[in-house]
């Protein structure tokens, strides 16, 4: 078990969030089953009041949980200093059998929570509250994922043994590693780059065609191609080391915390892109989502591309 101030902060926040989320969950089930905006009964008026309360609770939980993801990563990075063998958050993630699953779950939840917030915003903008049932239905499903995240997070921090030696990112993210991550190093660099830039160009094409579903799909695939290419190719140029591929080390001070910017750009870009396909709204708001997505994904592509380009200009060789 490891208890640093950061871990304690996460524990306390998780307990608070879980308590309020349970209240919101009970209300959400009632609202989802009984909501009828046209009814003028006492029950409906009570539900309308309760929906305001439940939505406010959920809004604040999710609005804090989304940026809290960055704090979670920061915490992993910070406690890596006390684990023997760990050089960054990668070692902490690998320190227990739950780390990887928790990280994947957190990323999925990040998108779901952000989607809920956008749905809530659209609902509150319309006096007929057209998405109330949908947003509370979504919360009912998200609640289980949220609670799973809280529980696994608790178990993971509880299972970390500070006396046990863990692997460093150099061995976890290398072509010689035996984990599934090592498979990405077997893909040809050219293929990776074609997939990465091709995916981005497809996004632009689907924007011109104004096909929101394909645009959302291209953003979904960009999460995968963006992260894989970052680990397998661009990471080497960020570290200026041909053997280093860690997706966490560039979150550290040595790399000016550039990782936070990289992941922020990717999240905003892809979330807006997926949102353009899934979120209800007018053409104006969808157009805005398209543009935000293209802007942030474009900045992501540009920022990553600058690393190898500058390296080449400086050294005259590719890694």
């Amino acid at each position: 078990m490891i208890l640093t101030p950061e871990v304690l902060t996460l524990f306390i926040l998780n307990i608070l969030f879980a308590f309020f989320a349970i209240i919101a969950f009970v209300l959400s089930v009632k609202i989802f089953l009984q909501w009828d905006l046209n009814a003028t009964t006492q029950r409906q008026y009570i539900l309308e009041k309760q929906s305001f309360l439940a939505a406010t609770i959920i809004k604040y939980i999710f609005a804090i949980k989304v940026p809290l993801f960055l704090f979670f990563i920061f915490t992993l990075d910070k406690i890596s200093h006390v684990l023997t063998g760990a050089m960054c958050a990668a070692g902490v993630v690998d320190a227990t059998q739950y780390g990887t699953y928790l990280l994947i779950l957190k990323v999925i939840n990040l998108y779901i929570f952000a989607y809920w917030l956008m749905l809530h915003r659209a609902d509150m903008k319309d006096e007929n509250q057209p998405y109330t049932k949908r947003k509370f239905g979504l919360f009912i499903a998200a609640f289980f994922l949220f609670m799973a995240e809280v529980i696994i997070e608790g178990i993971m921090f509880g299972a970390i043994d500070v006396d046990k030696m863990v692997s460093c990112c150099g061995s976890l993210y290398s072509s010689s590693a035996t984990s599934y991550v090592s498979n990405i190093f077997r893909i040809d660099t050219e293929v990776l780059l074609v997939l990465f830039y091709g995916n981005f160009l497809l996004m632009g094409l689907f924007y011109l065609l104004k096909n929101r579903y394909l645009f959302a799909l291209s953003n979904l695939s960009f999460i995968v191609s963006g992260v894989i290419t970052l680990i397998a190719f661009f990471g080497m140029y960020i570290y200026q080391l041909p053997t280093h591929h860690c997706p966490f080390c560039f979150l550290q001070n040595d790399y000016y915390y550039v990782g936070y910017l990289i992941y922020f750009l990717l999240f905003i870009g892809t979330f807006s892109g997926i949102g353009a396909g899934l979120l209800p709204g007018s053409n104006t708001s969808r157009n805005k989502s398209y543009k935000i997505s293209l802007l942030f994904n474009g900045l992501y592509v540009l920022l990553l591309s600058l690393y190898p380009l500058l390296f080449y200009v400086k050294n005259g060789v590719w890694l």
Binding site: T40, T41, Q42, Y45, E48, F52, M124, E127
Partner: protein
């Protein structure tokens, strides 16, 4: 224009105690009509006004204004509805004592983001109309009851609302000032506003320009 359909309002005092302020009332008020709701204290008059102003929601039933279901509006839309449609004169005027008359009158315009020139013109016009322009820079706390009421009426009219609601508007005034208020009411009626007054002041009963007087008793309308 204003319609209350099967409206019941119950106030929960605590877990075991509740007060039934209105019992399944039905009421229609036409555009431009001036209606007096009369009845003793606690009869439900003020509750009717607060429901029309979307300050509270019914326990059951619905309130419609121009076919818009205002009792179903979320809070942020209720505020917009009040801002655009309602001028409310409260029993205790609800003016801000540390602001001047003009500043109080201008308050409803603040969310509209109008330019200073338009705001100035609107406030001048409404202050002249309700004879309070000579006190425009005086702090409200230094005004007499009658002056405060004129400031309150001016504030209620600054955004040119379609509906004027007044809750016991003469409760704190002597007879002379009450009669002066009634004269202002006549002017408002002439400008085709829909007006609903909740009062138990006998001065309002039997006025020639009043369209209807409705007795409210124990949460029901006596027709």
């Amino acid at each position: 224009m204003i319609e209350l359909k099967d409206v019941t309002k119950i106030y929960e005092v605590n877990k075991n105690e509740s007060v039934r302020a209105l019992s399944e009332i039905n009421l229609k008020i036409k555009e431009g009509e001036l209606v007096i709701l009369k009845g003793s204290s606690g009869s439900g008059k003020s509750t009717i006004l607060s429901l029309i102003a979307a300050l509270s929601k019914p326990t059951s039933g619905e309130v419609l204004v121009d076919t818009k279901k205002i009792s179903k509006l979320p809070d942020n839309f209720s505020s917009e509805y009040r801002r655009d449609n309602i001028g409310f004169v409260f029993q205790k005027y609800n003016l801000i004592p540390n602001l001047s008359v003009k500043e109080n009158i201008l308050l409803p315009l603040v969310p509209l983001n109008l330019d200073a020139q338009s705001m100035h013109q609107m406030s001048e016009s409404v202050m002249q109309r309700f004879h309070i322009e000579h006190k425009q820079d005086v702090l409200v706390r230094n005004l007499s009851g009658g002056e405060q009421q004129r400031a309150a009426i001016a504030r209620a009219n600054i955004n040119n609302p379609k509906i004027i609601l007044a809750d016991e508007p003469t409760a704190n005034l002597d007879e002379k000032l009450s009669l002066h208020f009634i004269e202002m009411l006549r002017e408002l009626k002439a400008s085709n506003k829909t007006i609903v007054i909740a009062t138990h002041d006998p001065l309002f009963f039997g006025l020639d320009f009043v369209d209807r007087e409705i007795q409210v008793h124990n949460g029901s309308l006596v027709l």
